[in-house]
C-alpha cells in the first residue's frame, strides 16, 4: 500500500511492503511496529532504533507524541491523495479562520473588515481560564469577517475572525 503523509509542511511518500519493511521517499527501512490494542501506546524499531510514541486519531488527523513533542500528521492513501489533488492543491478552507481555542469572553477586537493583516498580528483578546489571551492571525491577508465584539461570549472553536489570503 502506498500513502502520502505530511507533517510540519513536509510530505513523505511511504510504501508499506510488508510487516517488516517499508520505503520512505525511495529509501528502504527495516521496521518492527507494535501498538497496544485499545491504547495509543506504540513502539517502532526503525533499523533497530527504538522510537516510542503515543498515537491518537483526532478529527481525521493522527496525533503522534514522541519524546514530549506532539506532531499532527495527515495520512492519505493513494485514492484519497488523488482526490485531494483533483480538488486542487490549495490549502483547505478555513486556514484563515481565527478560532476560539476555548470558551470565554471577547475583551477586545483589534481588526475590522477590510484590514490587511500579517501572520502573527493580534486580532482579538479572549478572556478565559482567568487570563487574557491574545488571538493572532494565522496568515497574511485581508479580514473578511469579524463575528464578535467586545463582550461577546464564545464557545470553543467558534470562528472569531476570517482572514482571506490574497495570493
Amino acid at each position: 500500500m502506498k500513502y502520502y503523509t505530511s507533517v510540519n509542511n513536509q510530505e513523505y511518500e511511504i510504501e508499506i511492503h510488508h510487516e517488516r519493511e517499508l520505503v520512505v521517499n525511495g529509501e528502504r527501512y527495516e521496521i518492527d511496529f507494535q501498538k497496544l490494542p485499545d491504547a495509543g501506546l506504540a513502539s517502532l524499531l526503525l533499523r533497530n532504533r527504538s522510537v516510542e510514541a503515543v498515537i491518537e486519531e483526532r478529527d481525521g488527523f493522527w496525533e503522534v507524541l514522541i519524546h514530549g513533542q506532539l506532531y499532527t500528521v495527515q495520512v492519505q492513501d493513494e485514492r484519497a491523495y488523488r482526490l485531494a489533488q483533483a480538488r486542487g492543491t490549495a490549502v483547505a478552507d478555513g486556514a484563515g479562520d481565527v478560532h476560539a481555542p476555548m470558551p470565554g469572553i471577547i475583551i477586545a477586537v483589534s481588526v475590522k473588515v477590510g484590514d490587511h493583516v500579517k501572520q502573527g498580528d493580534k486580532v482579538a483578546i479572549l478572556e478565559s481560564m482567568k487570563m487574557e489571551n491574545e488571538l493572532r492571525a494565522p496568515r497574511d491577508g485581508v479580514v473578511t469577517h469579524v463575528n464578535v465584539h467586545p463582550g461577546s461570549s464564545v464557545e470553543k472553536n467558534a470562528v472569531i475572525v476570517v482572514i482571506e489570503s490574497q495570493s
Binding site: 518492527d32 491504547a39 493522527w62 514530549g68 513533542q69 476555548m102 487570563m131
Partner: protein, 508 residues
C-alpha cells in the same frame, strides 16, 4: 489558643481542604501521613477529581465556576460544620489570602491553617505591606501611592523614569500587572490592569512601581510558629516567568551565596515579625544585578513551588503547617536547616507553546508520569480528566532533585522526555527547549528572559518528523487492515506476522 489578631491554634483530627487540583492532593497526602481525617469539597466539574476520590469525605458545593463554589465562604463553613471538620487548609488561590475568610474560620471555632487574619490583611494590601515592612527596616522598590487617577500616575511615571510597573493593589500571580517601557504605552496599560484586576479581584485600584531591570525574582520561604519562633528555609529562584506567571523554579539560586542567603533570610524574618506572622509564608524579593534586594510582596500562604525547598531541606512544609496550626513549637532551629543538593520544578500547563501559549482545553486521554530516582510529580489529573476553562491551566508540577544543579537539570531533561500527556497541548516542549538552552544551563537569566530573549523557534534539539510520519502511516495502515478484516471476517490473515501474532497470543 486564640489570639486577638485572628489566629486560632489547637489540636485537630479532621480537616477540610478548601481547594482542588494538585494542591488539594498535596494537602490530603500530608494529612493522611499525620493521621488526620480529611474532608474534600467539589464543584460540578470536579465530581471525579482525584481530591474527591482521595479524601475520607466529600461534599458537593455548587456549580463549576469558582465564584459559585470554591469561593463561597458560607458553603465552605457549612460543610465544615456538617462534617465536623475542626480545621481548614485553604491551599493557594481561591480563599487562601482572604483575611475575612481566615477570620470567619476563627469566629466559628475552626482552625485556619495559615497566618492570623490581621497578617493576611496587612500583607494583602500592597501599600500597607510596603509601609509596614519599610518601618521594620526592609528595603522596598520605589513607587507611588495607590488611588491616584490616571493623569496623576502618568505624571508620577514621568518623574520616576521608565520602565515602570502598573500593579493592582489587590493583585497577585501576575494578574492586574503590566510592565511599561514607554510613556505612550502607559494609558493602555493602566486600563488593561484595571480591567483585569476588576475582573479577577473586584477592585481596580492600581499603583506604579519603578521597574528594576535585569532583576531576578528570589523568594525566601519562612516558617513561623505561634510561640514567636521564625526561621527561613533558604531561597527559591523564580525568575523564569511569562506574563508574571512562574514557569520554572529552583532551589537554591545560582546567584545567592551563603552570606546573601543569610542576609535575605534575616530581612525576611524581620518582615514576617513586623506582622506577627505565624505558619508558612514567603517573602518575594527582586534581586538586582548588583545583588541589592528589594521587598516585592509577602505571600501569606503555601506557594505552588514549595516542593523545591522541601527537596533541598528535607523538611515537609505542609506537614509543618499542620503542626504549627495545631499549636506546636517548630521542631527546627535556624541552625538545623541545611541546604543539600539542588531541586528544579517545571510547571506543566495545558497550553500551546507554539501558538502564543494559548490555553488548551479537552479531555486528557493519556497521562504517564515520569518516575525513577530523583523525580517527583504533584498532579491532580488522570486519564479521563477534563481540563475545563473554569480553573487554571496547570496540569502538574514536575520536580527533579540532584546532588548538583547539573544532575538536577539532566534529570529534568530525562523526566520531561518520559512524560506522556495526550488530549491537550502542553508546555512540555517549552521546558525541554528551556533546559537545553545555554542561558538556562549557565544560570544567566532574569525575570524578562522568557518574554524578551527566548523563542521556541530557535530549536536546538532533534525533531522526529520522519518517525512521526512513519508511525502515523503504520497506525493508519493497521486500522485500515483491521477494518477490512472485520468486513472479511473468516478470511483471516495468516501471514508470518511474527511478533504481532506472538504478542496477541500472549494477550489471551
Amino acid at each position: 489558643m486564640k489570639r486577638e489578631d485572628g489566629l486560632l491554634t489547637r489540636r485537630f483530627n479532621k480537616l477540610l481542604i478548601a481547594n482542588r487540583g494538585e494542591i488539594a492532593m498535596r494537602i490530603l497526602r500530608a494529612c493522611h501521613e499525620l493521621g488526620i481525617k480529611t474532608v474534600a469539597v467539589f464543584s460540578d466539574a470536579d465530581r471525579m477529581a482525584p481530591h474527591v476520590r482521595y479524601a475520607h469525605e466529600a461534599y458537593h458545593i455548587g456549580p463549576s465556576p469558582a465564584r459559585e463554589s470554591y469561593l463561597v465562604v458560607e458553603k465552605i463553613l457549612d460543610v465544615a460544620k456538617k462534617s465536623g471538620a475542626e480545621a481548614i487548609h485553604p491551599g493557594y488561590g481561591f480563599l487562601a489570602e482572604r483575611a475575612h475568610f481566615a477570620q470567619a474560620c476563627v469566629d466559628n471555632g475552626i482552625v485556619f491553617v495559615g497566618p492570623p487574619a490581621r497578617a493576611i490583611h496587612v500583607m494583602g494590601d500592597k501599600q500597607e505591606a510596603r509601609q509596614t515592612v519599610r518601618a521594620a527596616g526592609v528595603p522596598i522598590v520605589p513607587g507611588t501611592e495607590p488611588g491616584l487617577n490616571d493623569e496623576e500616575m502618568i505624571a508620577a511615571a514621568a518623574q520616576m523614569g521608565f520602565p515602570v510597573l502598573v500593579k493592582a493593589v489587590a493583585g497577585g500571580g501576575g494578574k492586574g500587572m503590566r510592565p511599561v517601557h514607554r510613556a505612550e504605552d502607559l494609558p493602555d496599560a493602566i486600563a488593561a490592569a484595571r480591567r483585569e484586576a476588576m475582573a479577577a479581584f473586584g477592585d481596580d485600584v492600581v499603583y506604579l512601581e519603578k521597574m528594576i531591570t535585569e532583576a531576578r525574582h528570589i523568594e525566601i520561604q519562612l516558617l513561623a510558629d505561634s510561640h514567636g519562633n521564625v526561621i527561613y528555609l533558604g531561597e527559591r529562584e523564580c525568575s523564569l516567568q511569562r506574563r508574571h506567571q512562574k514557569l520554572i523554579e529552583e532551589a537554591p539560586s545560582f546567584v545567592v551565596d551563603a552570606d546573601l542567603r543569610r542576609r535575605m533570610g534575616e530581612v525576611a524574618v524581620a518582615a514576617a515579625r513586623a506582622v506577627n506572622y505565624v505558619n508558612a509564608g514567603t517573602i518575594e524579593f527582586l534581586l538586582d544585578k548588583d545583588k541589592n534586594f528589594y521587598f516585592l510582596e509577602m505571600n501569606t500562604r503555601l506557594q505552588v513551588e514549595h516542593p523545591v525547598t522541601e527537596l533541598v531541606t528535607g523538611i515537609d512544609i505542609v506537614q509543618e503547617m499542620l503542626r504549627i496550626a495545631r499549636g506546636r513549637k517548630l521542631r527546627f532551629s535556624q541552625e538545623d536547616v541545611k541546604i543539600k543538593g539542588w531541586a528544579i520544578e517545571c510547571r506543566i500547563n495545558a497550553e500551546d507553546p507554539y501558538n502564543n501559549y494559548l490555553p488548551s482545553t479537552g479531555v486528557i486521554t493519556t497521562s504517564r508520569l515520569p518516575s525513577g530516582p530523583g523525580v517527583r510529580v504533584d498532579t491532580g489529573v488522570f486519564p479521563g480528566y477534563e481540563i475545563t476553562p473554569y480553573y487554571d491551566s496547570m496540569i502538574s508540577k514536575l520536580i527533579c532533585y540532584g546532588e548538583t544543579r547539573g544532575e538536577a537539570v539532566l534529570r529534568m531533561r530525562r523526566a520531561l522526555e518520559e512524560y506522556r500527556i495526550m488530549g491537550v497541548k502542553t508546555n512540555i516542549p517549552f521546558h525541554q527547549h528551556m533546559v537545553e538552552s545555554h542561558r538556562f544551563l549557565t544560570g544567566q537569566f532574569d525575570t524578562s528572559f522568557v518574554e524578551t530573549r527566548f523563542s521556541m523557534d530557535d530549536s536546538i534539539g532533534e525533531t522526529h518528523e520522519l518517525e512521526a510520519a512513519i508511525l502515523a502511516t503504520l497506525a493508519a495502515h493497521r486500522q485500515g487492515q483491521q477494518a477490512s478484516q472485520i468486513v472479511a471476517r473468516g478470511a483471516r490473515d495468516t501471514s508470518n506476522w511474527k511478533y504481532l501474532s506472538r504478542w496477541e497470543r500472549l494477550r489471551r
